[in-house]
Amino acid sequence: MSPIDTTSPLGVTLALLPEVVLSLTALGVLLVNAWRHETAADSRLAGWLSLAGVGASLVALAWLAGTASDTAGIPQMVALDGFRYVGNCIFLLAAAATILLSLDYLEREEIRGPEYYTLILLATAGMMLLGGANDLIMVFLGLEVMSVAAYVLAAYDRRSPFSAEAGLKYFLIGAFASGFLLYGIALVYGSTGTTNLVMAGTFFETGELSVMAALGLCLLLIGFLFKVSVVPFHMWAPDVYDGAPTPVTGLMATGIKAAGFLALTRLLFVTFPANAELWQPVLGILAILTMVAGNLMALAQRTVKRMLAYSSVAHAGYILAAVWSGTRLGAGAVLAYLLAYSLTSLAAFGLLGALGRGGERDLTADDLAGLARARPWTAAAFSVVLLSLLGFPGTFGFIGKWMILSSLVVAGQWLIPVVLVLASAVSAGYYLPVIMAMYMKPAPAGAGDAPRLPRATVVVVAVIVAALLVIGVWPAPLLSGTLNVASSLFERAFQ
């Protein structure tokens, strides 16, 4: 086990191997598209090539995680720790699932342009750099690489006015938020003279912040909270999730949100751990607001896609509650919940996209009535996914919520856990009616056959549902694994 020598160019390349492999694949796919971009078969080819690139990147990630030991000495721009590896794993899984779900979706919706897959790969590379960033410059660049690709993806369905409007809203709000983030970076740089998270952290160790640094922290928080759609910075999220093509919505709700949360966690836990009394009240209040408002607004929605969009806002509140704790247990809970939520959400949006047949924006719970009789397996899978979102015991979602609750209770907090449990109870009010419609209502007269799921979608959904159930009943390896990984964040912090 030789630690990677990050002073040589080769060592740096090896330390960034997963990102490098993914970026090179993106360029390769773009090159192939230059010649082959006419037919549906060309689009499929680009999809499979991209999937191979994601697989190669996963292999590189596994190699890196096995080889690299955390390098002491000068902290690098991208971290070499377990927290980054697990984050990267989440992003790559989300990208793989999105690509598989998109294969048939793009064909059915007749969305031309195989560059779609290049954009997914570039967005994923941006997420990986953002989630592993150990330097504020890298935070900004990773965020922008991810966001610029995501703006285009949101507006990708050129014939749909909804998609164009979603792209416009996402772009304007995203650029606005990154302005705040950038000003925060400038002020932290001004007060410490460094953009490195670890070195800035040693500067703030005393627990005292200058006015400039406090303003910088405040602006950084605003920028991040916009990105992860926390109330009151959430207005854009339901509209954008609603209008974007459904597989892209899945990627935005999982990978992009996870990258934002992981970077926020690293920033607060590595750079500002001594100033917790400054940011904890803010995060606590916003977490409570987000859980309450997100769930109440989801109750009021008519269509399933918008309901899932608002529920994604509510889930951001749960994760923010885990960040609030500021402890090792909290960091572990962030990782576990992000993994649980990402898997569940990908399956939910995948099923929605496959069941909707063009009109999935308007799909209501009543449209799913009688699905259990026509397509029993599909209905069962959708039920498991919704129960996991709800946090029902026996599913991965329950384990994630339980970890968040225990991290909060250990930290001596009682208000946030109570709100979290009550908010989850409210969320049953919009998840369960969908399940009831599938199992207890007869199919509406005159409705055509429920669409059969495409094969790639079946594979993705089956794997995810199996993972949700297995981890739900046997969580021990996952719990100890995430806690071990979370402690890597703290070893670095007090180097």
């Binding site: 164009a164 792209g167 302005g179 953009t195």
Partner: protein, 98 residues
């Protein structure tokens, strides 16, 4: 030293940009206000790098490159919206609401 006035001016420019985004409803004007925010931050970086070395000036180049990429993508999206609604006014682009 000029640090105080430079920081004050960039804070002022940034605030004008934020106000513009909040008040105006034309997508192109909104986009220009966002660019104003980014360039105000650039001024902060340049002013601060007098004290902290070239790191701040390096950052300015990254920000300029990113702003250019954002401009390319953003204007293309605004164009796509204009094709559908023949308007870049946010008040008329309200298909998605709730």
């Amino acid at each position: 030293m000029l640090l105080g006035p430079a920081l004050a001016i960039s804070a002022l420019l940034f605030s004008i940009g934020v106000l513009g985004v909040l008040i105006r409803r034309n997508a192109i004007v909104l986009f220009m206000c966002v660019e104003l925010m980014l360039n105000a931050v650039n001024l902060t970086f340049v002013a601060l790098s007098r004290f902290h070395g070239v790191g701040g000036q390096l950052m300015v180049f990254f920000v300029m490159a990113v702003a250019a990429a954002e401009a390319a993508v953003g204007l293309a999206i605004i164009l796509a919206v204009f094709r559908h609604t023949t308007s870049v006014d946010l008040k008329t682009n309200t298909l998605l609401q709730g």
